[in-house]
Amino acid sequence: MTDNEIITLYFKRDPEAIFYTSRKYGRLCYSISLNILGSEEDSKECVNDTYIKTWNSIPPHKPDVLSAFLAKITRALSISRLRMLRAQKRDVKAAVSFDELNDCIAEKGRVYENIEAEELKNIIESFLKNQNDNERNIFICRYFYGDSISDICKRFHFSQSKVKTTLYRTRKKLREHLVKEGVFDE
């Protein structure tokens, strides 16, 4: 079934929409959630929440790319759950370390404190568009999908050191870009 056909089912409020979504994109959603939460149980719950949120979002939304739409919802829900679990002092062994992104953060940044996520997204997007394909894709695989270094190595046929180096350099360049854009103070 094509994405358009699945979306049409959502618009018809046909519960089959969730069945086909699950069949086509269930594994993708689960892997993203597992990458972030590192727990099978929590990940399954997050994926179910994704289906509910998708059901409630379409309509009125009509996603251009259904897989990306689902991936974003799953990621957001998983990160939200991760933060909640951590706030509850639960011992969460997240599979991906977003802490790496601290490399992109400067100590001071008045703009960063007040900037909207959408605006920050635009700045990051403009940065990523100027990176080469491999740098951009590796960055997104790591920090959007939460892929492990070894998974990225397999996908791109790179060595671990190359992937780590590429990520490190991209983070460093992103920090410079954010400073240049005034998000952070120099």
């Binding site: 790319v65 990306a68 990160i79 601290n102 953060i105 997204k121 394909d133 491999n134 997104i140 790179f158």
Partner: protein, 290 residues
């Protein structure tokens, strides 16, 4: 300041960007490597036959410019092939004592102080600190056959201390007609005593260049950085002129085959694993071979 906003912002990235990354295969690099590997298999023998003859022909010919530095990487060799080896031009007089031929000079040993190499004519010990040929030994005077074009007359190994060389008159077409001869060349005393095969010390083995291979930081660079692959190089050779030191290294990188030629520096690893670079051959003189 935490990264929460950054993490959230990344979650809003453009759909197509996200999709491309998810579907992303190694772009260009992997494909290019595969194509380059296939091309290398096809082209390298051709390049070796044609450009090798051309390059060495020019090093020893009267159109050779000793100040001209060549760097032939995989890409450069392909360029040369595509351009029918027409882009290299050299005009000045040839240097003396440039060894060419089927048995180019070869490095046998190197440490922090010296490098031992042989040419068709003899064995040389070059000292980095003094930038001088410290010792040289004529194979003819030692009493063993010269190297012959296309026919190695003597096999040489240097022991791990770098103080002794084992000279074996083997691998010679005529060796079937005579007994093999073994000599231990003592670099300190200069003596090259004959020994029996049963007396050959165990500690003789060739200098393992594969531990010390470096590649240029960028194509065409003359400064080298550590080569990460554990693949063994297929061969290593040196040739020299009166102004420049020429180093030829054939490196196998995955299935790719790189060849580098020409540098004013040679790179040797020290005992701690870091490397030093020393400029060599600033004042070669005729006397070194006498």
């Amino acid at each position: 300041m935490n990264n929460q906003k950054l993490v959230d912002a990344i979650g809003l990235l453009d759909d197509n960007m996200i999709l491309d990354a998810h579907n992303g295969k190694p772009k260009k690099t992997f494909i290019l490597k595969a194509v380059a590997a296939v091309l290398a298999i096809i082209l390298v023998p051709t390049i070796v036959i044609f450009s090798g003859g051309y390059i060495f022909g020019h090093i020893g010919s009267d159109v050779y410019d000793p100040t001209l530095k060549y760097a032939f990487t995989q890409e450069a060799l392909m360029d040369i092939c595509q351009q029918h080896i027409g882009s290299i031009s050299a005009t000045s007089d040839p240097p003396e004592y440039v060894s060419v031929g089927a048995n180019p000079p070869e490095i046998h040993y190197a440490d922090e102080e010296k490098i031992v190499f042989t040419t068709l004519e003899g064995v040389f010990v070059y000292n980095y600190n003094t930038l001088q040929i410290e010792k040289n030994y004529s194979l003819e005077k030692i009493g063993i056959p010269f190297f012959a074009q296309g026919d190695r007359g003597t096999c040489i190994s240097v022991d791990e201390s770098g103080d002794y060389a084992l000279l074996t008159s083997s691998e010679n077409m005529s060796s079937v007609d005579r007994a093999l001869e073994y000599r231990i060349l003592d670099f300190n005393s200069g003596k090259a005593d004959k020994i029996k095969s049963s007396e050959i010390p165990e500690n003789f083995k060739a200098f393992k260049v594969e531990e010390n291979i470096y590649k240029p930081k960028n194509d065409g660079d003359f400064s080298f950085e550590l080569y990460e692959s554990k693949d063994f190089p297929s061969s290593q050779m040196v040739s020299f002129g009166d102004k420049d030191f020429f180093l030829v290294i054939d490196i196998q990188e995955d299935t790719m085959y790189n060849a580098l030629l020409g540098c004013a520096e040679v790179v040797i690893v020290d005992s701690k694993g870091s490397f030093i670079t020393k400029k060599l051959f600033s004042d070669f003189s005729k006397s070194v071979l006498e």
